[in-house]
Symmetry: C2
Subunit: 427 residues, 2 copies
């Protein structure tokens, strides 16, 4: 039997829908962040990265790099085993204490990625609560969706950030145990959830809360504890999940919470138990980053200032940005092919790298360029970005502010979160 | 509603069964591998690690550490994004080429861990094949079990390494598409699967093959391609999965295969798409390790020599080792409490760290100390190990060779693979 055609057809389907992805191969330059070299078809080219989730440039911070290299030299390149079998390095234990402290919780637990922390974290928590109903925001990240699915419990999806709808669903769940799973900053639209409002409902209806702060940790709150810290809500949330791979600039994920919850996840989660621990070098680098951002306000203030300037420059140019209260600046295109063309043109002719965001990461019709200014995108780079975008918008005759943003907003809720549409039934 | 008791009860259940796990906190010493410092309750203590999966000590190899530090300094501590959104570093692209070459395949794809490569790799492959039946060895690792489960296809479990049983199941599956999922070296018993025999059956019955070589890559075959390389079977296997976190000494996982298969997984696997890429520093370190082991035989020969010496020393002492054709040396205890006591005594009084392996990693009644000698466990360390084990066996009155090994062997097949028994129904 020939199996190739199954895979070839799956790829063809993506090409036909113009959502086959090619990855831009780049070499970031730690000494000149956010600059990088792009391995273009015609050879190496200098570019500026405008779409990184290394939101504060901490991946290039000397203290972080030094911590990584120091631990690699002293301890070696890897952990050598699972956490249980010789992989429980001093560095990862220290990192977990740093993270628990960051969120004002008793315990922290580090996973190989934010993805796996949500997937195995949520699924394990709900498996440990008999008859639990999971209430999940419709725009939750794929890793949370998978966690809820793998938990095998009944789920109820509430409309994005809609407290009334959440309350209806909580009422409908009656006396059953309930877990509310939501994010603070939603990555693609850059909006923020009403954490205290959700905690009010959780208290009123006796629900447990699980908050994903991956796009907020390091950047919001006086010590970088996230939006829950900023809003004075950290102590109200049962489990706070975060990542070491975005504003902290390294890689890995974690959860924090009461000791008894974290210990149960530690003891039961297959995606934690049966996997090699993160290297001491990674843990040391992440801990250095977390520690630095607990004290230093310079990166957060620098980011806010440059984000405001980018938003002002794009507004002045009449470009269709989605208004956000965060550091995420989506510029709406609304069409997969046009979005890819704009991105290609920016990269090839202006040395500006902004990956097109197409379905399934965002709903069809809301394709966009997602811009993430860091403290290191200086005023000259911002001016160049605004000029380049304006040029590209004219050359490709892309729609301006009024039309696209409206369309995207009207479609977003109707379409809901984007699952991976595998071209088979029963998957 | 109070949720704490759900978690507290789950932990209590583990304590009652004597399988609550505590992790030994250690600092590996890269300059004196396999030596480490154990953060004992009474303060720091010098120990020798005898249970690491850094099988060849490559995590401490200067070329590997240098590659990690060089890339960290040049590129920063992290990748800065998913593979699609600015995280596709030159280093990870080079690593994938190195891995494809290692296994003689067209393409390679790197994941954040071997766990996730199996979980999202297998589930995506079988979702792309309508009506697929998965034939899975009963002793497959948890990550493969989860991958099969998350794929949602019909599965048939064949008795461990049993070609007759596999053939029966292949016949029963008739004309439907079939995937055979198996490992080369089984981690806990240290035995090896009949790869060519399985490939014969796959060809006869038109099945696709997926082989996990995580406990073999780097160590078997002339270039470290694994048991399939050693047995001349690499070209017969459709997908070869491996890890960068064991013999290669770093962290991360991968699959290799035909371009069309790998490209489909790249395009559809949620655990690949929606997660931050491994840092360039990790990719560079792993590539240096893979490259080194393609040429150098010294590590493999050194390992074989020291493994043979350990086996001989334990045999001379009459200790109940499970005979294996590999580098894995299980010494059987057969009881969770005794296994933990032996491990504690070895660590506290002899400075020998061998984590007890209890249920659910192995079936109840087959609890063991799993010893993994590296090229760097010299003759003096081996002599010390044999003496210490003999002492501990006498002091704790543990059973000797004849009794335990028989019991373990007779129970193994009957019990089958150990699922995580979450204390709830419907999980």
């Amino acid at each position: 039997m020939n199996y190739d055609h199954f895979f070839a057809e799956a790829i063809d389907a993506l090409r036909k829908e113009r959502r086959y992805r090619t990855f831009a191969e780049i070499e970031r330059d730690a000494r000149h962040f956010p600059r990088a070299v792009w391995h273009s078809p015609g050879g190496p080219r200098d570019i500026v990265v405008w779409c990184s989730n290394d939101y504060l440039g901490m991946g290039s911070h000397p203290a972080v790099i030094e911590a990584m290299c120091g631990a690699a030299q002293a301890r070696g390149a890897g952990a050598g085993g699972t956490r249980n079998i010789s992989g429980n390095s001093h560095e990862i234990v220290m990192l977990e204490r740093e993270l628990a402290d960051l969120h004002g919780k008793e315990s922290g637990l580090v996973f190989t990625s934010g993805y796996i922390s949500n997937d195995t974290g949520i699924s394990t928590i709900v498996k440990l609560i008999p008859d639990c109903v999971v209430l999940s925001d419709e725009l939750n990240h794929n890793s949370m969706i998978e966690g809820v699915r793998h938990g095998g419990r009944q789920k109820a999806i509430f409309r994005h950030n809609d407290l009334d709808h959440l309350e209806e669903l909580l009422q409908a769940a009656g006396d059953r145990p309930k877990l509310i799973a939501f994010e603070s900053v939603y990555s693609m639209d850059g909006d923020i959830s009403p954490i205290n409002g959700i905690c009010d409902l959780a208290e009123r209806y006796g629900a447990m809360t699980y908050l994903d702060e991956v796009h907020a940790v390091g950047m919001y709150g006086a010590r970088g504890g996230g939006v829950a810290e900023r809003d004075g809500a950290m102590h109200r949330v049962d489990v706070i999940e975060g990542t070491l791979g975005k504003a902290f600039g390294v890689v890995g994920g974690y959860i924090t919470g009461k000791r008894v919850i974290i210990d149960a996840v530690r003891s039961y989660a297959p995606g934690f138990i049966f996997t090699t621990a993160l290297p001491p070098a990674v843990a040391a680098a992440a801990a250095a980053s977390v520690r630095h951002l607990k004290d230093s306000q310079a990166e957060r203030e620098g980011q806010r200032a440059q984000v405001a300037k980018v938003k002002a420059a794009l507004a002045a140019a009449g470009l269709p940005q989605l208004e956000t209260p965060t550091h995420i600046v989506p510029v709406m295109v609304g069409d997969a092919k046009a979005c890819k063309m704009a991105s290609d043109l920016l990269l090839a002719e202006y040395g500006i790298y902004i990956q097109p965001i197409n379905y399934p990461t965002v709903p069809r019709g809301s394709e966009r360029l997602r811009i993430t200014p860091t403290p290191f995108h200086d005023d000259a780079l911002i001016a160049h970005l605004a000029t380049a975008l304006s040029d590209v918008w004219e050359r490709l005759e892309l729609p301006y502010a009024d039309r696209v943003v409206e369309r995207a907003n009207s479609r977003r809720v109707a379409l809901g979160p984007a699952p991976i549409p595998l071209p088979v039934a029963g998957g």
